[in-house]
């Protein structure tokens, strides 16, 4: 009771972050600084307002208020097999807040999913992940130097955490796992990166699927709203055919492609 957290947005009727009709709860705060980030308001844990419209972009919310909002759409979850998805930012950053929310939702019996960068302290977060029905974890770039350059952090902990996911499964009852690559043209869209990522997933997370999402620049509006610069003409949105080619590489490595479109 009384737990508060920084919430970017609570988006009902999300249909691409897991099964069915979902409500996505975006929690602020992130250890990464991805150059292509499309939700820059979620990098830090603090209240923010849109510089142009004065609307709130991150607000401090009571956990019970969040629960009331997500619970409102329970009927739609029931009929669609949907539920709640935690996203961010990096939702595990506000560990206690997420712990409280996910425990409450678990008890209510709604399906839960999480979208995480994989950058977190495993021991503090594992029990939360255990409540999930579906885990989306990013594997942005296999090459560590490149990872550091574009995201501000090494991928060592991320790769370790990916390898630990299988420990959540007991008797095949664990969460479904989808390892995601945000494919940014000119950064990580080379065959080597995709192939070695898929091989890593195949080796360390048996049964996991992968989803390849093309980079988009919708986030530029948010940079403007936050009065932040965003100049990345070097990032390309991969074309449909290119995406299909990369997905084929993943399949060749023996990993199934997930598709929530």
């Amino acid at each position: 009771m009384g737990i508060k957290g920084y919430v970017m947005n609570i988006q009902p009727f999300s249909v691409n972050d897991g099964d069915g009709i979902r409500t996505t709860v975006f929690l602020a705060g992130c250890p990464l600084r991805c150059s292509w980030c499309s939700n820059p308001e979620g990098m830090t844990m603090e209240e923010k307002v849109n510089a142009e419209t004065g609307e709130s972009m991150v607000s401090l919310m009571d956990a019970d208020e969040v629960l009331a909002k997500v619970q409102k759409h329970r009927l739609f979850y029931a009929y669609s097999g949907g539920g709640i998805t935690f996203s961010g930012g990096e939702p595990t950053m506000q560990t206690e807040f997420l712990d409280y929310l996910s425990a409450e939702i678990y008890d209510r019996g709604y399906s839960m999913a999480i979208e995480t960068s994989g950058m977190f302290d495993w021991d503090r977060v594992a029990h939360i992940l255990g409540r999930m029905d579906l885990i989306f974890m990013d594997l942005k770039i296999m090459d560590d130097a490149k990872h550091l350059k574009y995201t501000g952090v090494s991928n060592k902990q991320i790769l370790e955490n990916i390898a630990r996911i299988k420990s959540l499964s007991t008797d095949e009852q664990g969460p479904e796992v989808v390892i995601r690559i945000p494919v940014v043209g000119g950064v990580n869209d080379d065959e080597d990166n995709i192939r070695s990522s898929a091989a890593y997933v195949k080796e360390h997370v048996p049964g996991a699927r992968m989803e390849l999402l093309p980079y988009h620049n919708f986030g530029t509006i948010k940079y403007k709203a936050l009065d932040l610069p965003y100049e990345h003409p070097e990032f390309r949105t991969p074309g449909r055919a290119e995406m299909e080619r990369l997905r084929q590489i993943v399949r060749e490595e023996g990993v199934e492609i997930a598709d929530y479109r």
């Binding site: 009727f13 249909v15 759409h73 669609s80 949907g82």
Partner: protein, 790 residues
């Protein structure tokens, strides 16, 4: 299977041809009525129908498998001067060129009609009787005003009947009906006045049955003649089969699926000739067709594809008939839409799932033919098979606006609340656009259109129209002197009560006239209890006699307006009521800032209780006020929020409204949010709409939403749509229908209509070909908010 070459040819003709006025039927009726002066009206009507069956030209068009047409044109629009002809006389020259629903008509035809047909009907039509009996005060507010409209009940045939194929038509055939009528007559004594009336009724039944039998035989003869001259052996064989079928149908009960399709069309054609009716519903098609299909299938006489082609031929027949209506009526019912409502799915009377092969076939036929008729409705029950839901949502994803999707249980509840026996209520079918209905029923389902927003205008403008300045309603004090919300609500109620009362007066007048000269022997023959009771529908012969339905228009505009006044004037005191009155008097010109404030107030459609609760209270008041009146048969009037396309004409006559709408802009239909104001997710729009108590509005409720096509482009997306539907129905919602075509496509269709002749879109409660809609109607469809959230 792809559409067959035959069906495609018929379809192309349907798409490319403008309907043509035919006066054959009107001329035969006129001659017949001249001969039967002095006889009881019911016999005159029945005789005129019988004469028409004997004299109407018989045409079998190229490639047809299902035959029968209402005149000399393949796409025919017929005239029914006995209901109303003044409007035809006034408007007929403009038919070919008018913006909404034009018809071709030649100068020779116009001359003939004026010389030979209209003079007889002068002083005899229902329209004239209505106008003669209606006071100036009622006319001022309720004739061609857009505030209150009842004219479809005194200018046109009534329709709004669901033929009873199950208990009456298919098992008996018209031969059986005739025998039944004769047998009843045997028992009656002409010397007893009440029995004399019944004898007249049964004599009319015999005339109707004989007419239908003759019509079938004439088609049989025609087909034989054509077969004799036909060079192509394949077509000759088809014509011979048609001749064979029509030698028995519709006199006898059909034996095969193909005979049944022909039978159903003859019944439909009979109704068209009799009344040129609105909402002449084929009803639960999958339920009565399936036994014939199954029997043929088991006997190896038919396969799915053959049956589908026949069904598609029938769909084109439903669509080739064009309803002939006035310019005013066409603005309410845009798109040549005659509402031949055909229902599939739902539950059987025993509660089990009712879907069968024919349910899927009907959906497939609609998808392949892309015709605007039949008005396809689906009943969805809580345990609806996923395959059926997928078929339904897949049809939605084509963007054609079909089917209308209905909650099975709410429909049941709506009829239960009208006093139906449980098993009859369970067997409901859809009528017109979104009216839960039954084949055992007589009901004027679309009797009055009443504008909530007009009542608001009168309340806030001393009882005058803001645009014309005329005093059309009850006087009211200076709006700037209202001191509380309660006072404003009371003023609205006073005006709304007056509108209801004037509607009641109009409809009781119309009912009385129909009772005198509007007998409906053809439709009565399709109703089990009329035959049992020996009484015409207009004499209360049906099992269920339900009061006329008022359909409310402008609910969300009015609720939003009250919310603005409450918030800005009385709560936040950001402006005075006088400011708002001045602003809407000036159509917001010079008051742009105030308009921004008004637009920022809570709007219905976003799941905000602040305003949704106002909508519900207005709807409840509507119910309480309307249902306290009884019609001439002693039945309570009924409420609905069904909408049709009435949000355009009802908006055109109104000045600006407090929630930010400009003068003459459309208002809103049914329980739909105001165009573009449902800015939250479509889940919120559904939740807002479900806050209205649907089940008490037994005349039906309508919700239109636009969905971005991407949302339903994948199977997953369609499954989510199915879940949304089930959720809405679980919340008590009754109907929802979607447009899923992008504005980009619509804009292109506006610019290049020739490329989009067959593009069907949802109007309201029905779909029509986009290019057949007037420019303003097209614009208003494009303005509806598309839900695109991800």
């Amino acid at each position: 299977m792809a559409i067959t070459e035959r069906v495609e040819k018929i379809r192309q003709n349907y798409v490319d041809t403008k309907p043509h006025i035919s006066y054959e039927r009107a001329w035969i009726y006129t001659k017949s009525f001249q001969k039967t002066e002095g006889q009881p009206n019911i016999l005159r009507v029945a005789q005129a129908f019988n004469d028409t069956c004997n004299e109407l030209s018989v045409n079998i068009w190229e490639g047809e498998l299902v035959v029968g047409t209402s005149g000399e044109y393949r796409k025919c629009a017929i005239l029914t001067p006995e209901f109303g002809w003044l409007w035809i006389d006034e408007e007929i020259e403009t038919f070919p060129e008018r913006g909404q629903d034009p018809y071709d008509v030649t100068e020779e035809q116009i001359e003939f009609i004026r010389k030979n047909i209209f003079p007889y009907w002068k002083g005899r039509s229902i329209e004239e009787a209505f106008l003669a009996r209606t006071s100036e005060a009622t006319k001022k507010i309720g004739v061609d005003t857009g505030f209150l409209d009842t004219d479809s009940k005194w200018r046109n045939g009534i329709g709004e009947i669901s033929a009873d194929y199950i208990d009456v038509l298919l098992p008996k055939g018209y031969g059986g009906l005739k025998a039944e009528a004769l047998a009843y007559m045997e028992e009656l004594d002409e010397a007893i006045p009440a029995e004399k009336e019944k004898i007249d009724f049964y004599r009319s039944m015999v005339l109707i049955a004989d007419g239908m039998i003759t019509l079938g035989r004439r088609y049989s003869d025609k087909a034989s003649e054509m077969a004799a001259e036909e060079k192509d052996p394949a077509r000759r064989a088809e014509l011979e089969e048609i001749a064979d079928i029509c030698s028995r149908i519709p006199e006898q009960s059909p034996k095969t699926f193909r005979e049944t399709v022909q039978f159903v069309w003859f019944v439909q054609l009979g109704g068209i000739i009799a009344e040129n009716p609105l909402a002449w519903n084929p009803g639960r098609f999958d339920q009565y067709m399936y036994p014939y299909y199954k029997a043929d299938l088991d006997a190896g006489l038919i396969d799915y594809d053959t049956a589908l082609e026949l069904v598609e031929c029938l769909w084109l027949k439903y669509s080739e008939w064009a309803w002939t209506i006035s310019k005013n009526t066409a603005s309410f019912f845009a798109g040549y839409t005659n509402f031949e409502n055909l229902t599939v799915g739902g539950t059987k009377v025993d509660g089990s799932d009712a879907t069968n092969d024919i349910s899927y076939m009907a959906i497939q036929a609609t998808r392949e033919c892309m015709t605007h008729q039949p008005t396809l409705s689906c009943r969805i029950h809580p345990d609806c098979p996923p395959e059926f839901m997928e078929a339904v949502t897949e049809l939605v994803s084509t963007g054609c606006g079909f089917p209308a999707i209905h909650g099975d249980r709410t429909g049941y509840q709506m009829l239960s609340n009208l006093g139906y026996e449980p098993n009859d209520a369970r067997d409901w079918n859809n009528c017109g656009c979104v009216v839960p209905h039954s084949r055992k029923t007589f009901e004027w389902t679309s009797a009055a259109s009443i504008s909530f927003a007009a009542a608001l205008e009168f309340a806030l403008n001393r009882g005058c129209s803001r645009l014309s300045g005329d005093q059309v309603s009850l006087p009211e004090k200076d709006p700037k002197t209202f001191e509380s919300m309660d006072e404003i609500y009371e003023a609205w109620k006073k005006q709304f009560r007056y509108l209801v009362k004037q509607g009641v007066i109009s409809l009781c007048t119309a009912q009385q006239i129909h009772k005198e000269i509007g007998h409906r022997p053809f439709m009565s023959a399709c109703n089990e209890y009329c035959m049992k009771n020996g009484r015409d529908l207009v004499d209360g012969g049906a099992k269920y006699n339900i009061g006329p339905v008022f359909t409310g228009v402008g609910l969300s505009v009015t609720a939003n307006s009250f919310a603005v006044i409450q918030k800005l004037v009385f709560e936040e005191k950001k402006c005075t009521l006088a400011d708002i009155i001045d602003a809407i008097d000036n159509n917001w010109e010079g008051y742009e800032e105030l308009r921004e404030l008004a637009l920022d107030c809570p709007k219905y459609g976003n799941d905000i209780d602040y305003v949704d609760s106002i909508a519900r209270e207005l709807a409840d008041f509507f119910y309480d006020e309307v249902t306290k009146y009884d019609d001439i048969y002693g039945n309570h009037f009924v409420t609905a929020f069904m909408g049709i396309s009435n949000y355009l004409p009802t908006g055109k006559v109104l000045g600006a409204t407090p929630e930010g709408r400009h003068a003459r802009d459309p208002i809103n239909e049914g329980v739909s949010p105001y165009t573009g104001s449902d800015k939250d997710t479509c889940l919120s729009a559904l939740r807002s709409a479900a806050k209205v108590k649907h089940d008490i509005h037994s005349g039906g409720t309508l919700l239109n939403l636009r969905l971005n096509h991407d949302l339903v482009a994948t199977k997953r997306g369609r499954a989510n749509l199915g879940a949304m539907l089930q959720s809405y129905f679980a919340l008590g919602g009754f109907h929802v229908q979607f447009n899923t075509i992008s504005n980009k496509v619509l804009a292109d269709a506006q610019a290049h209509p020739e490329k989009y002749k067959s593009l069907l879109v949802r109007v309201a409660g029905y779909s029509a070909q986009f290019v057949n809609l007037s420019k303003e109607m097209q614009d208003s469809i494009m303005a509806r908010n598309a839900h695109t959230e991800f």
